[in-house]
Symmetry: D3
Subunit: 339 residues, 6 copies
């Protein structure tokens, strides 16, 4: 098996803690050859910390000097589109952080170019690799759930507006709680419905708390520069009548600090994802099933491996370019509905 050469674009935390460590654990498939960041010092430090040969502050140099097979994009949201397009143009496979892009049009172009170039473009939705999601998939495949017809998905924080980074900057992030948190559970919900495109989308966004300020549980934020939504609610209706209720918040006056979950209802059984429980009929009685021994896994490692499997033409459950385009379009329709 050929060992692919990988380059990392972006010198922040997600590169340092997630992508590089995962890639380093798969030496038979991939070798990280370069890190590229606008801040050369940051790139250098990161490269040194992980024993990576090259550091750049220009992607032009990167492509000239290293000719990577694979590019991993770990930059702010507004850079996903241009950097992915550039990488595809250089014939690279691309593993891009979520969300795909700032808008539907960009995500569509990215998918189209990947198809045209015959390269893998994938997005890093790691929750697909949780043992809970794997078990849901197995239950669905084994026929324990019947037809899936309704999903409640939420990713809520009570006062979790990040006090660092660009999370409240609209131009760089494209949005707030929906763009940063909601996409994770929306991706799973869409998987459960085989990534259909919804007929109708209705939603609202809010910024009462973000703009008013208050006690922060993830650092202090500045209400004066808060430009995104602190909460987004939406309803999606699909061709076969299936539906999704989606809730995402950075800040909401709810009891729980952080709450991320999905409930997935099928004609024969329903699942609550975290912790996993199955509700169905067994032996003629209503039954609740627990699976107490699900093993914790390194979800980033598994998702990186899934991306590499796709690159190698093997079966993979990574989020595809096409799925990313559909997801981004739905996000856009929610924002448009919210006005």
């Amino acid at each position: 098996m050929t060992v692919l050469k990988a380059a990392i674009i972006g010198g922040g935390n997600i590169a340092d803690k997630n992508h590089i460590p995962a890639l380093k654990q798969l030496p038979e498939q991939v070798e990280v050859v370069a890190v590229c960041s606008r801040d050369l010092g940051k790139a250098r430090t990161l490269a040194d910390a992980h024993g990576i040969a090259h550091a750049f502050d220009s992607t032009t140099q990167l492509y000239q000097q290293c000719a990577p097979d694979v590019v991993v994009i770990c930059t702010p949201n507004n850079l996903h589109y241009p950097q992915t397009m550039e990488a595809l143009e250089h014939g690279c496979h691309v593993f891009c952080e979520k969300p795909p892009a700032l808008n539907a049009q960009n995500a569509r172009e990215m998918a189209d170019l990947a198809a045209q170039k015959g390269r893998i473009l994938a997005y890093n939705f790691q929750l697909r690799q949780t043992p809970e999601w794997q078990l849901f998939t197995r239950c669905k495949t084994d026929g324990l759930l019947g037809d899936m017809y309704h999903i409640k998905a939420h990713f809520l924080r009570r006062r979790g507006i990040p006090g660092w980074g660009y999370f409240t900057n609209k131009a760089m992030q494209g949005g707030g709680a929906l763009m940063d948190l909601g996409v994770h559970v929306l991706d799973l919900a869409l998987c459960a419905l085989d990534y259909q495109v919804p007929d109708s989308v209705l939603g609202n966004t809010y910024d009462f708390i973000g703009k008013a300020g208050g006690k922060g549980l993830m650092g202090d934020w500045n209400p004066a520069t808060f430009e995104v939504e602190d909460a987004a609610m939406a309803y999606l209706s699909f061709p076969g009548k299936a539906s999704i209720m989606l809730s995402a918040s950075f800040a909401l006056n709810t009891q729980v600090d952080k709450d991320r979950n999905l409930e997935l209802f099928g004609s024969k059984g329903g699942v609550k994802l975290f912790p996993f429980s199955l509700h169905t009929e067994l032996a003629g009685e209503l039954a609740d099933v627990q699976f107490p021994y699900l093993e914790e896994v390194d979800i980033q490692l598994k998702n990186t491996a899934a991306f590499l499997a796709a690159c190698a033409g093997k079966p993979s459950n990574v989020c595809t370019a096409e799925q990313g385009a559909i997801l981004q379009e739905i996000i856009q329709r929610i924002y448009e509905s919210a006005g």
Copy 2:
């Protein structure tokens, strides 16, 4: 104070256990003078059991012989409209069971006729009288919640398709879980938003489990004659951007047997209704407030008293004819959206 003469139309359980006992506890305001049912024997038995003078099987006779001031309508949903119209035409105040009618047009006509006749028409949504709802109202009035902008309301049963009555008969009930259960929590949610009319409504209805059959927790139902929805999901968006997520089910593969609750989110505080908890900031910190000594009350008695207060021209929190018309219109829009 004049003692009003009241007549009961409908000889079933709701008359026997709810309305008549409540009216009997308010003798200074009202006297029950007659019971009317299609089945004269039933009417007679009920009247005797409660010491009521007259029993009829014809409303014509009822109005001729008793000239009631107040009519309480406890019949199946399809009779609410004709019987209310008849009572209003006879100049009576009307206390009608929920839902108001089978469709929006009927409920609108009922409200218009009540206005024209200068009579009180009210609907029996008793949850408004729970101590939890009263406390929510007090918190809202005292400014503890700020602007209300999102409400999650649900009334879910796992396998609670009633094995008796007409609950699965579409012609008589007009619908299933939404019509029977969803209306209760929708009424509260609408109250929290000052009973605005939504801009947009999106929803779906399902009948997988109802039509497939299975283990029943409220008696056995017949899947072959199951004509209504076993679950309904909807999203309402209001002019000022507020939103409601509504879920109702007779049958759903969820863990909990019966689950009825509302979460109401405002800019300064949020409330979970059952059991009541308030989530806000106090003394500069995030605070969760419990009220452990809420007193249980007889919600039917309080709602009947509220209706009579309205009849006497006093302040009342009973569901008005106008509110009933708005509610019924929303129900209809949900069904239309669901197709």
Copy 3:
């Protein structure tokens, strides 16, 4: 359907609270025509309390005057044998309280005579009618458990030596905790193994606490007249290698006041009976299944109905004469092993 005429022999609590009320709820199948007790006053009082026509203090008179179709025997253990034999001789079906008899020889004769006379002889092991046991049976039938190979069965009390009746009198009871309590769970365990006869039996009995005296939780007992075992432990090994561990106590220095349970282990799944839980593999993972909506039933009513079904030649899960003989033989082998 013919209505059978039933006579009750024995005027104690078990007749008054269990058998007569159950029989009275099945008027289309059976009519209680007489009560017979050594104490005529007791018989009379009982008959009057339940609206039963006849009372006797002699079974001879009973058979002469009433010619019952069915006899229910609710007397002390030492009378089960002679009264059952007499009833069978009179051509009656017999529903006899547990345990079958004082020894294996008697129980064998009872079964043989019933077979010879073509009459139903059954024993009142009501735990067979619990919803938990019914669900176990359904799980076993549906193949969820595989081959059953080990059962732990216990019925333990910490200080539950009854302070009334003949429970500590060896001549009348034939034994102590094993005879009174152990038989219930042993019967279920044997059912799970299709009522095979064990190859080997090893057991012990104790009377330390019974003979020493102390604090009683079911009244005060007299250590000076304590003649039976306060605890019995046994192990049964069956032809196909299956095994049962059996524990029964009136008194044992354990934490729990009263503890009655079975754990039943099969090759594919295991069950803990109270509260019912199933432990197996599902969707490739170890799964624990709860059934939260088992309905409480009147187990005496169901067992009486099962006996009557047997009398009517219908399928029945009541404990048969043959099973009772096997059970009694095992009890005897345990006592013999204990020495």
Copy 4:
């Protein structure tokens, strides 16, 4: 005090993590001078890791070059016998891992040779050093328990067939769950009965799950090479009527992942060992006693110290050669009973 010279035979985990660290913490009594393993590299690595002078792959060389006073045997079960015999022949004290041997005959010879040579042979049953067992012993000595007459002992795993080592190899291990797990709790149960020899032994062994395969919680095992019992059940009856119920499993369809416990019943009090609770009468009432401040101890260190105390002729609670022979005989009788 003379410092004894100790040699370790066996280069696996138990030597590395248990015995050597314990010995190193007792430098005034013992010095580890050598490690011996069939794999010299392993011996060398282990010796270096712990700062031990010599490493061998031959016991002959070991005895020639080092002349140890003490030998600690940490090899697979089938080597316990020959290596212990050899060590005793060389005049060494021997601290041998459990179980003593593959069969009763070998364990008996080992005890006899130790007695003949006047050397200490002891087995490493560390549970004797748990604070719970120490407290049980103190309660028994203080008369809080009276006469001990029944013990329930179990060591159960749900799917704990080890996926490494020789645990499923009959020739090397001599057995499965009973040999590996059951011996620990059996040793304690026998201590509670003063290590009497039972009159009767009845037992069964099973391998349904081991041979069928499935989800493993301690790694994956190979059902094709599974040769031992995955579960063993036994009942022991003793001269004074006392009894032990013993259960051990690598795999059983039970709820709990790992469950190791003993309940010990005496005439005056009973004990549940983990967590320790005492059930008795106090001040004329039934009392449950908790001891919430038992201190955690290093049970291997304490057991090693107990072995060295025995070597020094001091009082010791370590498992003696004679006890090991009795234990091994009982194990053999269980296997013979199981057929």
Copy 5:
């Protein structure tokens, strides 16, 4: 045994629900012959309800016509003194409700007159009959506690100012929370210290909440007529250095609705009374002992029986006249300390 003739003085709840039912259950010792109340109708009603022959509204008539042997005084606190003195003058035994009197001087005179007349005067502190207090006494007697040296006693309500009766009227009650609630736990604490007289008493009383008004949990009270303390705190120091911390409240901003408990510390063991737990050393370890099977008893029945035992010259644990005088003196010293 002579059956004593008893008269009840006071026609309220405590007579109706406590004293008369208890006396009626002891027919071999006592017969209730009369009820006396200022309100003759009330006396008549009560007498009829319980099948008592005579009813009076004058104690003069009572003594003339009935010549009772025993008088039970169930009137407001301010009547305890005159009515007890009158009864003793008539040669009656007296069972008087708590507290003994409005002040120390009266209670002392009552005790002196009882001694002079050779009659039993006892006070109805029923908590002495709880199984918890009986067990404490047994533990103390059995030496499990050593020397008692400190007691924390409290009887706290959060908003339990009674909305009925005279509880907030100083002239009739003599005080508030201390007089009504505190006396119960103070009596037990004094028993534990053998009813010594304290050297020093320091205390405070408060009425912030009582005078401010607010939400009531035992009905609504009128802050305008609130004359007593809503909370009292005190510390008592005894000759042998023992001490009591006493807290009583009708209203206090604490979490618990109603909280009544004692902690009693001795040199060898300590007891928390409700639920009973013993904290000591056993088998060389710190031990917590629970007694899970204490039997509920009818504490009024037992206390009435204890009073009658005293009348019959038998051992009794009822609160004596002398103890009542000591208690009342302490109460007075607390109020004086509080100023």
Copy 6:
């Protein structure tokens, strides 16, 4: 801002783990220049470990060679007075460990000299910096509590007599549980009452367990040399009628191992400190408020910073010299009351 030069007197644990690390985290305000201990080696080791320049075994040398601005006193209680006086005489600010001194007279002199010299003298009561106490202060300031009138404060250990140090030596410590533990919660209680001087003090001390010996949970202590109180109980009454109940123990037969808490009752609200809960009325109902997101802080760091703020003339909540003198006087009055 000038960086102050600080010297540490005392070479024990409190210097090493608390004061020096805190000072090192505030380099812009303070530099630690010297450590002084009777044991020069200890001083040297400590200085080296923390990178401090100088080490002394004589304060004379310290003042001569280093001329510190700030002195931190971490020595046994009996040295607090002489070393503080010496430091003040040298014109230093002093941060002294608790308790202030061995008696009231010394603490008074210390405060007077600090005032005379115009230097800050402060005591290290770090609990003032807990987020719970800060929140209490905020609640009090925001008017949520009304007038404070009663406080229950305790710091209890079950068997926590330290097995190391001088804790049981009266001459060096001045007392036992009150001096070591009680002072912490007494300081908070006094703060809540604005550090008033009490009118009356009543208390007792005990040494039953300390002198008897037994199981220790913080090492083993020697009962033969136990000279201090193992428990102290006291009641303080203040001019405005407010009161404090104080309990402190090294050893007490109570259930909990370690229990430190305050309950603070005000006219409008009450607070339980650990974990913090507020009990009050809100929206017309009794309300319990939890604050689930209080952030853990480094209380020593915050208290050191508060001391330095005081030195810099800024607002500070550190315990002042005057407060320390009041506290010490109260301690002395408790001991005098106890006799």
